[in-house]
């Protein structure tokens, strides 16, 4: 992509200025979700939504029929990491340690939604396990958390996990942009 003001060229996946005045400048990537409209509006009923003509009809909940083709990638310690959707489908909660960066990945197969949160809250690193489809529990305090990262019961009730930026991508594309990315598995 190119900005109209300086005509600098940018990589949209990296958010990085590649050529021109802004070469080397990195835009901040925001935490975002990729999920069904039904699930999103259910969680955020006051949301607004882009209203333009469709350019495609393929991107529905059927899109992840071959989960091994997709990954969620993120910045960890000393570089990039990724987890396959095929791995995430086996577990709704996955505790990750990316060389000092503790992250939890949650996956909801109904809405095809993968989310990442930082496991460190204040000075404590939490370890999570699933409780049903829509909730999970941390082993340290036994508190119950919902999919938005909010503690809904227990010692931590009212606290919210901090989202960690995760980018959902075709595996091939992710590896093209991040050839040294390390895959994290359940083992």
């Amino acid at each position: 992509m190119m900005d109209t003001e300086s005509k600098s060229l940018w990589s949209h996946l990296l958010g990085l200025g590649m050529e021109g005045k802004h070469k080397g400048v990195r835009l901040k990537t925001l935490p975002s979700d990729m999920l069904t409209w039904s699930a999103w509006k259910s969680e955020f009923p006051d949301t607004t939504v882009l209203n333009m003509s469709r350019t495609n009809r393929n991107y529905t909940d059927e899109f992840y029929k071959t989960p091994e083709r997709f990954v969620v990638g993120f910045l960890g310690g000393h570089g990039m990491y990724h987890v396959s959707f095929a791995t995430l489908r086996k577990t709704s909660v996955m505790n990750l340690d990316a060389r000092g960066v503790a992250v939890v990945a949650t996956f909801d197969s109904d809405s095809t939604s993968a989310r990442l949160f930082k496991r460190k809250l204040a000075d404590r690193v939490l370890t999570f396990e699933s409780v049903g489809k829509q909730q999970f529990k941390d082993k340290q305090t036994g508190s119950t958390w919902d999919r938005s990262g909010k503690a809904v019961d227990g010692e931590m009730k009212g606290q919210t996990l901090v989202p960690h930026v995760g980018i959902i991508s075709f595996r091939k594309a992710w590896m093209t942009f991040h050839p040294r990315s390390k895959e994290l598995t359940l083992d």
Partner: protein, 113 residues
């Protein structure tokens, strides 16, 4: 910031086989982390003429949606401050889309595909 990105006219020479890269960028530059991959092979070529930047896209409240978005369609969603915004992926594909310049809760952002 006083600048906004627009649709690019240049693609990487080694264009990946991907139309599926959903990213939401805050239009605020930051320091490049030391882990940034080496981009010394960046060698763009022009494939198309510039496309008008999308800066005035229309939005609907969820309560007003009828058949503009179906329940099973994938959306990219972001929350900024207390405002939630969704971008149906089926509206983002194609060389004349792919980047929506937007402002959510007074924050300038770009939803890219």
């Amino acid at each position: 910031m006083d600048w906004l990105p627009c649709m690019g006219m240049v693609r990487p020479m080694t264009r990946p086989a991907c139309s599926f890269l959903a990213v939401i960028l805050a239009l605020v530059p930051a320091v490049v982390p030391s882990c940034a991959d080496d981009r010394s092979d960046f060698n763009p070529r022009r494939l198309m003429r510039p496309v008008r930047a999308i800066v005035d896209a229309p939005f609907l409240a969820a309560s007003a949606v009828t058949d503009e978005v179906n329940d099973n369609e994938l959306v990219m969603g972001v929350v900024v401050g207390d405002q939630a915004r969704a971008y149906p992926v089926n509206m983002l594909t194609g060389p004349r889309r792919e980047i929506i310049n937007d402002t959510v809760a007074k924050a300038p952002i770009a939803a890219t595909w």
